[in-house]
Amino acid sequence: MAYDYEKSIRPGKLPHIWCPGCGHGIAMKGLIRAMDTCELDRTKTALVSGIGCASRLPGYMDACTLHTAHGRAAAFATGVKMANPEMTVICVGGDGDGVAIGGNHFIHACRRNIDMTYVVLNNYIYGMTGGQFSPSTPTGAKASTTPYGNPDPTFDISKLAIGSGATFVARTTAAHPREIDKLITQGIQHKGMAVIEVLDDCPTTYGRRNKFRSVVDMMKELKKNAVPAKAAAKLPAEKLEGKILTGVLFHDTEKPEYCEMYNEVIKKAQGA
């Protein structure tokens, strides 16, 4: 039987703005399956985003949805979660939004280990503004503002999350749709800051500038480069060059969660 996605979509809000071949739709379906698996009460679920193509995702979803300013999703979400810890908080956004303009909020949300799930749809480009390079655009790649090839080094967003203190970090790609919902489910169920990086494709502003002849080619590239972290552990370093580790990359259940830490503050303040 076909999966019923429509019950999670707000009536009348489709079609979405994404281009044909964009991976964001695949990620949204994965998110819906994960939210269903976790049986989330949509009235107690906040979907928070910043600005960009990926950040339009919450608007299509039936939940408490907060489309904020560029880069600020994690900070708004921190306010929502702190003020009402009963809410399940899920941020969705792109690479530029999340780790360029929003980098400071992203790393500090990780550091606090506040209980939220941040799904980064990393398509290596600023799509909405027409294809400018982002912190995850590969060095040497073409973007509308790197006509001679990108001189900038890149961020590894998952490593950034781990280094900043997030306690559940996982990565997959739009070419692995079943893994998307599996990992987001684990992220939601994890108590603490979970970052799920989904590598996906922007055929319109990245693919066509970088010699990908079709969306299929971009998907094949994602599949070719993805190596499950468990398998990678057994491979020699030379076999991992240019590869992207996928699956659960980091999981720590010891570090205290931020709202629980603050509950201790409240207890002390109230003289308990």
Binding site: T43, A69, A75, T78, I107, H108
Partner: protein
């Protein structure tokens, strides 16, 4: 029963006013000369089950405050000029998304870092025009520690009632001055809570103008699912570029303040009945101005003081009336000329309007105000 009294700094009084008003969330970032507001709230909020968070930067603090407010928590941040500059984009977000919150600006001088430990009144125009786009603004300017307490409560009331950000601006002099505060009993000062929607979750629209000029705001987590965005939007909260809807929404958001100025404006007058010269002053400068009025009266000069407690919306009507009555208005403020432009605009040439100010980190003193009055008469 004797009332509780204390010797408090203006910044501390502000924090206690926030608690009185029912604040349950503070998001901030350390900045001189406002830090005591955060410090006191870090002690007091958890005592009442509220939350205090020191965010990674000023923008994050503003974002967290808006996020918290959307769950129904009365929310506040405190900063100074450089911090308010950083927060501007999100102050506009709170305007268009109609999210109540209170922003405290303990004013120092100078553009950029300026003189962090010195006083100033140079952010009064910023309070209206700092964020981009067309929008209304409410800004309050108390001049004493007791008044900071009371005006902070009023700021929360106005924020919740009019569903928008409200700024409270006081200069470093009042922020760091210590005065005797008489704490009002619970219920003694009115505390306004957010109006809950009467529509059920299925028919609720967060910007439905048929529910009145200020449609009720539901809270995340209370059974309502709705969309909040900084984009221009239709009454259901979803983005639109439809010309008629965009303009109607923007006009409503400005009209909700314009049509209610009498409720929002507050001012004090001293010896203005027969005044030939009006000193128009706010914040700590108004205290020097009052002293100057007494001195001038002793010298036989009919001086009076007009002191706004609300500067935005601008007290246009009363200022215009005074302009017709007097020969001159001296606008005294700790800057090189800001509110004087508004006073001059609404006076429409009915009287002379001059400015007396300074930005050297010293308060505007009565002597210089007296000097200016004598010069202009």
């Amino acid at each position: 029963m004797a009332k509780k009294v204390a010797l408090l700094q203006g910044n501390e009084a502000c924090a206690m006013g926030a608690v009185y008003a029912g604040a349950k969330f503070f998001g901030g970032y350390p900045i001189t000369p406002s830090t005591e507001v955060a410090e006191v709230l870090s002690i007091e909020l958890p005592k009442v089950g509220g939350k205090f968070i020191q965010m990674e930067d000023e923008i994050g603090a503003m974002a967290a405050v808006i996020g918290a407010s959307l769950t129904g928590a009365k929310s506040i941040t405190a900063t100074s000029g450089p911090g308010v500059s950083l927060k501007q984009e999100l102050i506009g977000y709170a305007c268009i998304a109609e999210t109540p919150c209170v922003i405290i600006n303990v004013m120092r001088g100078g553009p950029s870092t300026g003189m962090p430990t010195g006083p100033g009144q140079s952010d009064v125009m910023q309070a209206m025009w700092g964020t981009h786009g067309d929008h209304a603004a409410i800004a309050l300017v108390p001049n004493s520690c007791q008044e900071i307490f009371e005006e902070t409560v009023r700021a929360f009331n106005l924020a919740e009632k009019y569903r928008m950000p409200v700024q409270v601006l006081f200069d470093e002099i009042v922020g760091h001055m210590r005065e005797r505060i008489v704490f009002p009993e619970p219920g003694e000062i009115e505390v306004i809570d957010r109006e809950a929607p009467t529509d059920g979750p299925d028919s609720y629209k967060p910007y439905d103008a048929t529910k009145g000029q200020i449609p009720p705001l539901a809270s995340f987590g209370s059974g309502y699912k709705f969309h909040v965005t900084g984009l221009n939007k239709a009454d259901d909260g979803f983005p639109t570029t439809k010309a008629s809807l965009v303009e109607a929404e923007e006009r409503r958001q400005i009209a909700k303040i314009k049509d209610n100025v009498d409720d929002i404006l507050k001012n004090e007058e001293y010896m203005t009945e027969d005044a030939e010269v009006i000193i128009w002053a706010y914040g700590s400068t108004s205290r020097s101005a009052r002293y100057a009025v007494n001195e001038l009266r002793e010298q036989g000069i009919k001086a009076g003081l007009f002191r706004p407690l609300t500067i935005w919306p601008f007290p246009e009507k009363r200022t215009a009336e005074l302009a017709k009555q007097c020969k001159a208005i001296v606008v005294a403020e700790m800057n090189l000329g800001q509110m004087v432009y508004e006073v001059d605009r609404v006076s429409r040439g009915e009287c002379i309007v001059v400015h007396e100010g300074r930005v050297d980190g010293e308060p505007v003193n009565p002597g210089q105000i007296i000097g200016k009055v004598k010069e202009v008469l």
